[in-house]
């Protein structure tokens, strides 16, 4: 019965009645609530709880892990947690940008794994140096993202299907040059010769160097990038357009936004960040491991989705994703230190994710 007749009911959202008077039944106009300028509903207890719930749970987990395993809070352990978090956060930020344009990038894990093999192959077989390898990897990542974006925007393949296809494609492609073997120094090539290159020390430093002997370089770079992307998505007009495209594509288009360009750009960003993640993994492990990075997709998607709950944003956001990645990292590291069997870890991750989503969307239902 709603919205079909002029005058009576305003469009579909919330069924707000189409006349001035009824706005007052929705919005109380007592003097207290009349604070002009960017007013938001003053947070009540429930709102506060939802906003900081993730942080409370995180604090509780840290206290719990620390009480069971005193080594947990040691600086070295914390930074080793952050080192693995860095890669997850990087991929998660990419996923966040695609979520912002109402898309989804399922190929980030594969892109990271593919980059791992690509960089190893570039140095061990093609004998490129660190700089050349990094440029090649990032460029290839951007190219993959461009293909993803064009498949979605031009050919109009649904985002999940296009990136799922790309995920399989890359997972297969990475095996071909080395005939399915991991790439290490002295690799026997399919044509019978032996690869003569090696990992450039400068490249390995990307993953292994520690500032002041404590802070791993990837942590510094990813922290900086998270700041950059937070600023881009939250404080600039470009970020506004990313979110506007995701919120209402027609409205964004009619407001003059280059909708297609932004959607393609989102996938380029996501793939480039994923390949940077792959570079960090390669630099840390120092070999092209075929099975590395298999859990990266799930972890980064979990980080982005837990990010919905952070500060009760209920949308994909960069800060939330970073916090979500830390959250996932702490849980995994804590469980490992407590000697919880590795095969239960995915279950625990799933539990945490579902719990976080229930917290965000379930409890908040009453208000809107």
């Amino acid at each position: 019965m709603n919205g079909e007749i002029e005058g009576g009911i305003a469009s579909s959202r919330g069924g707000v009645m189409g006349n001035d008077g009824s706005a007052q039944s929705v919005v109380p106009t007592s003097p207290a609530s009349q604070s002009r300028q960017r007013s938001t509903v003053s947070p009540g207890m429930g709102e506060l709880l939802r906003r900081y719930a993730i942080f409370l749970i995180l604090a509780a987990l840290i206290v719990f892990f620390q009480s069971r395993e005193p080594a947990f809070l040691r600086i070295n352990n914390l930074f080793s947690v952050l080192q693995s978090v860095a890669v997850v956060a990087l991929l998660g930020i990419g996923v966040t940008v695609t979520l912002a344009v109402d898309g989804f990038d399922l190929s980030v894990g594969s892109i990271a794994a593919f980059t791992l093999m690509l960089t190893s192959y570039a140095m061990v077989v093609l004998q490129l140096n660190a700089a050349e390898t990094v440029v090649l990897a990032l460029f290839t990542g951007a190219l993959i993202g461009l293909v993803n974006g064009l498949l979605i925007v031009w050919l109009r393949i649904p985002d999940l299907l296009a990136t799922l296809g790309m995920m399989f494609l890359l997972a297969g492609l990475q095996l071909i040059p080395s005939a399915g073997r991991s790439i290490t120094i002295g690799l026997n090539l399919p044509d019978g010769s032996v690869a003569s290159g090696s990992f450039d020390p400068a490249f390995l430093a990307l993953g292994r160097y520690k500032l002041w002997d404590t802070v791993p370089l990837p942590v510094v770079i990813v922290t900086w990038l998270a700041g950059v992307f937070w600023f881009l998505m939250e404080q600039t007009r470009w970020g506004r357009v990313f979110y506007a495209v995701g919120g209402n594509e027609t409205a964004a288009y009619l407001a003059g936004a280059a909708v297609k360009r932004y959607r393609v750009l989102a996938y380029v960003i996501s793939a480039t960040l994923a390949s940077l993640g792959g570079i960090f993994v390669a630099a840390r492990v120092g070999r092209g491991d075929v099975f590395a990075g298999s859990s990266l997709l799930l972890d980064s998607v979990a980080a982005a989705l837990i990010g919905f709950a952070v500060l009760n944003q209920r949308r994909a956001n960069v800060v939330g994703t970073a916090v979500g990645a830390v959250f996932v990292g702490i849980v995994l590291n804590g469980l490992t230190m407590l000697n919880v069997p590795y095969y239960t870890q995915d279950f625990v991750k799933g539990l945490v994710l579902v719990g976080a989503l229930a917290l965000t969307f379930g409890i908040g239902r009453g208000r809107r």
């Binding site: 019965m1 919205g3 079909e4 007749i5 002029e6 005058g7 009576g8 009911i9 305003a10 469009s11 579909s12 959202r13 707000v16 009645m17 189409g18 006349n19 001035d20 008077g21 009824s22 706005a23 007052q24 039944s25 929705v26 919005v27 106009t29 609530s33 009349q34 604070s35 002009r36 300028q37 960017r38 007013s39 938001t40 998505m233 939250e234 404080q235 600039t236 007009r237 470009w238 970020g239 506004r240 357009v241 979110y243 506007a244 995701g246 919120g247 209402n248 027609t250 409205a251 964004a252 288009y253 009619l254 407001a255 003059g256 936004a257 280059a258 944003q313 209920r314 949308r315 809107r368």
Partner: protein, 520 residues
């Protein structure tokens, strides 16, 4: 035509119906009665209260005061079910709600019985089909009974709903803008069914602002304005007077003072333009400081015309020029950069963002198309954005708590004000507004008209509206569209208003427009 009071009680009698939302009185002591076999046309501008009245009669909205009598018996409970049981059937504008998709036409025709206990437990196909045939025969309806309701067009859906109403022995049928999405042939069939129902003694409340419909079917016209009945005509109908009553001013009051705008070089001009390959060519021009209203039925090409000017579609032939230069925009981005702005129809689809999106508040909504000019370095300056929004809130009288409110917190009229404010926040040369009064109450509508009419003197505004009365209220020049061409052009500053109205209703009534009558 109307039965005398001593006879049977009228099919429907609404007594002193009053309804207010907050301080705004939507309906004020409205009395209407519809006798057996009588078709009463309910006219009124957007926000006049006609849809609220229809909803009250259908039991969807509860009146604050007043009584409803169906065939002399008072309707106690206010619920759609109670209204339907007592014999009031409503056929809505949105045809999705007229039946159950997934069920066949036959099943839909007997849906009321199926849902009731009268059908019996066994609902075999044969039995359903027999009953459905009987129902369809009630209005002489020929439909493939086996088809899924989902596959039916709007016209057939309405017919199914009307057939159900007849089968349910409805005393009153409320038709809400029934021809809005029908072709001429489908509308003609609808009218013949209305005649049939009239013969059966059904009372019909016919809500429409299409003059040709009203002339064809109505025995009586009731005109609502600001929630009050301002005219009640019996045949012979005087549509000019009815429109006059709708607008609420003497027609001479509508006429604009000649402002010399037409003498200046046009902001936009169209020469020998063919909107779609099958349509006739037309010319059109808008001068600075001028408000041009484009009116015509749904599907007459109003939105397409605006879209072509804004760069959403291409014209199939002819020339457009904007500020004396050829105008062929490739899309909104280019149009906006050149100073051609458009607010599309259906604001939640075309203009607004969901509340959880960053930039979905009033300030962000207004700033979105101007982001490049306002934030050349990319950084969104919140203070600048909110200052601009506060200015709009003040000048347009947008009721809200502040510029940080998301749009879902506002009423329809205030949402629309934000949409207009967005486009008036920067300097433009041509502003295109598609159905800007949709879902807007009377007070807000008045503010919107003021805002539109007090635009800059160097820029022009084009308003598309299917409501003739709205067109007359807002415009300096009215263009009537039919079949994707401009069928008539009337300058309210020079034209004699009475002849103007009769000309407009003549254009609306005409099925075929002969080329001689195309002015310009």
């Amino acid at each position: 035509m109307q039965s005398s009071p001593q006879d049977d009680p009228p099919n429907l009698r609404l007594v002193n119906i009053t309804k207010a939302y907050g301080p705004a009185r939507v309906l004020d002591q409205v009395n209407i009665s519809i006798g057996p076999g009588e078709v009463v046309a309910l006219m009124g501008a957007n926000g006049a209260g006609k849809s609220t009245l229809a909803k009250i009669a259908a039991g969807v909205v509860e009146p604050d005061d007043g009584q409803i009598f169906v065939a002399g018996r008072q309707l106690r409970a206010s619920s759609p079910r109670a209204a339907r049981r007592s014999g009031i059937v409503t056929v809505h504008q949105s045809t999705n709600e007229l039946g159950a998709p997934g069920l066949t036409v036959a099943e839909n025709l007997v849906l009321d019985d199926l849902c009731d206990t009268t059908f019996g437990l066994l609902a075999g196909r044969g039995k359903i089909e027999r009953q459905a045939k009987a129902v369809a025969a009630g209005i002489g309806l020929e439909l493939e009974l086996e088809r899924d309701f989902d596959e039916l067009g709007p016209a057939h859906r309405q017919l199914v709903a009307i057939a159900r109403a007849v089968a349910a022995k409805a005393a009153v049928l409320i038709l809400d803008e029934p021809t809005a999405s029908l072709s001429a042939a489908e509308a003609a069939r609808l009218f013949s069914i209305v005649d049939r129902l009239r013969a059966l003694g059904v009372g019909i409340l016919y809500i429409s602002h299409r003059l040709e419909d009203i002339r064809r079917v109505a025995d009586r016209i009731v005109v609502l304005r600001n929630g009050r009945i301002v005219a009640n005509q019996v045949r012979p109908l005087n549509l000019t007077a009815a429109i006059q009553a709708m607008i609420g001013r003497d027609l001479d009051g509508i006429s604009r003072e000649p402002n010399g705008a037409a003498a200046r070089d046009p902001v936009l001009s169209l020469r020998q333009v063919r909107l779609v390959p099958s349509a006739q060519k037309f010319d059109l021009a808008v001068a600075p400081g001028e408000v041009l209203a484009v009116t015509g039925a749904l599907g007459s090409g109003k939105s397409r015309l605006l879209g072509a000017i804004f760069g959403l579609t291409r014209i199939s032939e002819g020339e457009m020029s904007f500020l004396d230069r050829p105008w062929r925009p490739r899309g909104p981005e280019e149009a906006i950069a050149a100073g051609v702005f458009m607010a599309g129809e259906d604001r939640w689809r075309s203009s607004l963002l969901p509340a959880k999106t960053p930039g979905a508040d009033i300030a962000g909504t207004i700033a979105l198309p101007h982001r490049r000019r306002w934030f050349p370095f990319g950084f969104v300056k919140a203070s600048q954005e909110h200052a601009a929004a506060e200015h709009s809130i003040h000048t347009l009288g947008i009721r809200c708590r502040g510029s940080g409110d998301t749009l879902d917190l506002l009423s329809g009229g205030n949402q629309q004000k934000v949409v207009i404010a967005r486009w008036q926040a920067a300097s433009y040369r041509l502003l295109l507004l598609d159905e800007p009064f949709q879902g807007v109450d009377v007070g807000a509508r008045r503010d919107l008209i003021t805002a539109i009419r007090t635009g800059r003197t160097d820029s022009a505004t084009v308003v598309a509206t299917s409501d003739v009365a709205e067109a007359l209220e807002v415009a300096d020049v009215v263009a009537v569209m039919r079949n994707h061409t401009v069928a008539g052009l009337y300058d309210l500053r020079t034209e004699d208003s009475a002849s103007l109205l009769s000309a407009i209703s003549a254009v609306e009534q005409d099925e075929t427009v002969d080329s001689e009558r195309v002015l310009v």
